[in-house]
Amino acid sequence: MLDVCIIGAGIAGCACARELAAYDLDVMVVEAGYDVSCGTTRANSGIVHAGYDPQPDTLKARYNVLGSRLYPQLAQELGFSYSQCGSMVVAFSDEERPALEQLLKRGNANGVEGLRIIEDPELHQREPNLSPAAVAALWVPTGGIVNPYGACLAFAENAATNGVAFRFNTYVESVRPLEDGTWELSLCDLLAQDANASSKQPAGADRIVGQQPTPTDTVQARIVINAAGLESGRLNNQVSPHRIKITPRAGEYLLLDKAWGGAFTSTIFQVPTKAGKGVLVTPTTGSNVLIGPDAIARDTARELQTTGEGLAGVLEHARRTWEHIPVQDAITNFAGLRSSCLEEPDFHLGEALDAPGFYNIAGFDSPGLTSAPAVAQEYAARIADQLHAQKRPDFNPHRPAPLFFSQLTDEERARLAEKDPAWGRLICRCELVTEAQILAALRSPLPATTTDAVKWRTRAGMGRCQAGFCLPLVAELIARETGCEPWQVRKGWPGSELAVGLRGCLTDLPEVSMGEEAAR
């Protein structure tokens, strides 16, 4: 019997796991993906919003402002990339100025600090690449950027070293209440299922949902936290009469080469217009420039494709902010999904109606990333109280920041490479990632097992050659560490093996025994 079972290893689930790890509780996180941050947390704008946007007196406003204040200290404690670079909402005509005033008023009501309207010369002194059409902006000094994957992993690793269990590749088929007031979860082991899957079944993550996974085992827990993102509505609706409908809304992005890393120093939003919310242009913690997103409702929870029209639309809107976007230096494009509840657009938090002990973190779209730490702290305190759990004296709130060769001083580089040749072996030349960093990811408390997991943790393959050179080397290292063949290494999900087999697997040449040949 678990004390708490958390469904979903995104930012919400992992933040809860880390906060609950401070108490004397038996906690497990169950995740359908092959790694942390496989859903909505993976692909988004990576913004720590200051909190001027949500309507006052909503859950979004409350947790946004609280969460935003927690990030600087959490980034210190847990060693993830975060920068309070500031943000601005830009008006491109005098007609848009009243909207700035409105946001300023709303931000003040929500308790956001330091807001003010700026104009030239400050406006273009701060951001020289901002379109000359910009006339004014709301300056938001507490706006920040974060690596969402990095933050999520940091929470998860810290939770794991403090005793929280994690099960990946595990889909929660159903949740049901038991008579004693606890909960039973039916689980499906997706890796085992994939191994049994016949080749005629379509590959793709749709297989997870589309194939009606068969439960392989169950777990029982006193408390369930439903942090399942796009699946959170489905799980809530299994236990509560208050139905939540989650509408996946896709956002498409373009990522530009690091050569443009300094083009903007803060996150640039546009004043929302009748035509839409506008797109942002922002530096990332990895020194790229990110442009996006649009907002397109998608039919299923797993449609993560970009489209030609979508990307063209993103560019067109972003050119209001940055006239001469160097499109030729785009290194990749991707889509993320928001888990929005359009009918009741606030967060759905707290115990679900008629389901005591079943805590929702649903409808957790923007500013979910920012709010997650604040929600997690409140949940942990409340659940510990409910279960009469004490604080653990041996809880270690710190997680050492992973070392990045690219960020070290020459002295540190020399010292590390002298001690360990793996620090002297560069695997990813675009992002300067050494073998030692990749081995650290493969030997983490929550080991990376796929090339995507290695990429997200170390940046190997995230640069301008997009893994053209390092993919075979990374695959060799994963194979060596996990004891499989390099061709069996997966990009990510079960069924995403890099290759189909060894050379010769597709030819049916008769086998020749070398022994017989030699004997003749």
Binding site: D410, L426, T434, F469
Partner: protein, 450 residues
């Protein structure tokens, strides 16, 4: 740290065909304190994975495989006792008063800083990616550049896929298509956005036609399907005039692998960071006839300078750059390319020319290397100085897939403000071209126009 900085005469960055030839040439010009830094485990660069034959007809007068060619070049290096450091990545470069300071990382020597009196850049090229083409869709496993697929098959013994679609028909792609077909994969088609293939005619015949693989010009991939492993690609027709995909023409082609052979990009990140002036047309450094870049004592050659078609020419260029680096050590006052020297420009029908500058006194026969923009027959290549024609060369045919070289006396060009290379010819209706290339298949070339 700078107190203990190791000093060397010449650092060669890159252990492929260009770097090995450059190092050998510096030694033969009398400089013995030369070090080759190679970021790979073994010498030869891309030649290591080019296990097909067709290399070396010009340089060795015989037909070799890539690894054989590399072995000969490396043997020349070891015979001379030239230092070669494997797995050594030069990741920072800075021009200082005494020369060039390099930051090098390797498992053998750890992190070290080296002061080189001259540097030869020979880092080669990388392949253009899906992201750079902005192909929309999902991001499943099974999408590789042709070179990465070649690495998997030939060096790791791994089959990347069974049902293969290729975009782009650069030579690496054509060679890999044949390799996959030979290993039992079904290569469904090669699609090419342009109306001209960027592959050599001979490779199209030997790698596609002989294996029944269709080449579809004026087609491109417009979508990607599948969220784990690739399941299908959408392919659309391309309007020849606008070069854009024609809406409504997309057909879905089931496949588990998409290979990209859509061009090579000189890998000049290090050079750019050090402040070397680059030529936006060739995507390589701007050099004079001695292959010296805008930084004194820094030379560039091979695919990092411009994309070649034949490795033999890469070696030749490496040797020339190596000799020039050695000469620079003898007379370090030699002037860097300056504003008052001769500018070499691509004229009509020419996409770029290397070198882009000539020094005040260009000596001997100067090779001008360039690519033509289209397919031309019965053409005249004109070299003019300050608008006056100084030399013309007749050719039966010229195609973008082949690098062109003309050689002329430096004296003819000395003192001119500008030299222009242009093409006079009838346009060939390109689709049917059959360039009668007697040249061997090559690995070191692949230039698809986006």
């Amino acid at each position: 740290m700078s107190k203990h900085m190791k000093q060397i005469d010449i650092a060669v960055i890159g252990g492929g065909a260009a770097g090995l030839a450059a190092a050998t040439a510096t030694y033969d010009s009398g400089v013995s304190n030369v070090v080759v830094f190679d970021r790979e485990e073994a010498p030869g660069g891309i030649l290591k994975q080019c296990i097909h034959n067709g290399f070396g007809l010009h340089r060795f007068k015989e037909e070799l495989t890539g690894p054989e060619y590399a072995a000969r070049e490396f043997a020349a290096l070891t015979q001379r006792g030239i230092a070669y450091v494997p797995e050594a990545t030069v990741f920072q470069m800075e021009s200082v008063s005494e020369g060039t300071r390099l930051s090098v990382l390797s498992p053998i020597n750890g992190f070290e800083q080296v002061l080189a009196h001259a540097v030869v850049l020979a880092m080669g090229s990388r392949e253009r990616t899906r992201g750079a083409l902005r192909i929309p869709g999902t991001r499943p496993a099974g999408i590789y550049t042709a070179g990465a697929a070649q690495h998997l098959i030939n060096l790791q013994g791994i089959m990347p896929g069974k049902e293969v679609v290729m975009l782009g028909s650069g030579d690496i792609g054509l060679i890999v298509a044949r390799r996959l077909a030979y290993e039992g994969a079904h290569v469904k088609a090669v699609f090419n956005r342009s109306h001209i293939s960027s592959g050599l005619r001979r490779n199209i015949v030997q790698c596609l036609d002989d294996y029944g693989i269709p080449l579809k010009l004026l087609h491109t991939v417009t979508s990607i399907y599948g969220s784990r492993r690739l399941e299908a690609v959408g392919v659309s027709e391309v309007d020849k005039a606008t070069k854009r995909a024609i809406p409504g023409t997309e057909q879905i082609i089931p496949c588990d692998t998409l290979l990209l052979a859509v061009g090579l990009i000189p890998e000049n990140d290090l050079a750019r960071q050090a402040g070397v002036t680059l030529d936006p047309k060739s995507h390589g450094a701007l050099v004079d006839e001695r292959y010296q870049t805008s930084l004194p004592g820094v030379f560039s050659c091979g695919n990092v300078l411009h994309i070649h078609d034949l490795v033999d020419f890469v070696s030749e260029e490496g040797e020339a750059a190596g000799r020039a680096a050695a000469a620079y050590l003898g007379a370090p006052s030699s002037d860097a390319p300056a504003a008052d020297t001769t500018e070499v420009l691509p004229g009509a029908g020419v996409s770029y020319v290397v070198p882009q500058r000539l020094s005040a006194q260009p000596n001997g026969k100067i090779p001008l290397r360039f690519r033509v923009r289209d397919v031309y027959r019965d053409l005249t290549i004109c070299v003019s100085a300050d608008g006056r024609e100084v030399k013309r060369f007749r050719r039966a045919v010229a195609v973008p897939a082949e690098m062109q070289t003309v050689r002329l006396d430096g004296a003819l060009l000395a003192g001119a403000r500008t030299v222009e290379v242009s093409v006079n010819a009838q346009h060939e209706p390109a689709v049917q071209h059959d360039a009668p290339s007697k040249q061997p298949a090559s690995c070191a070339k692949d230039q698809e126009v986006r």
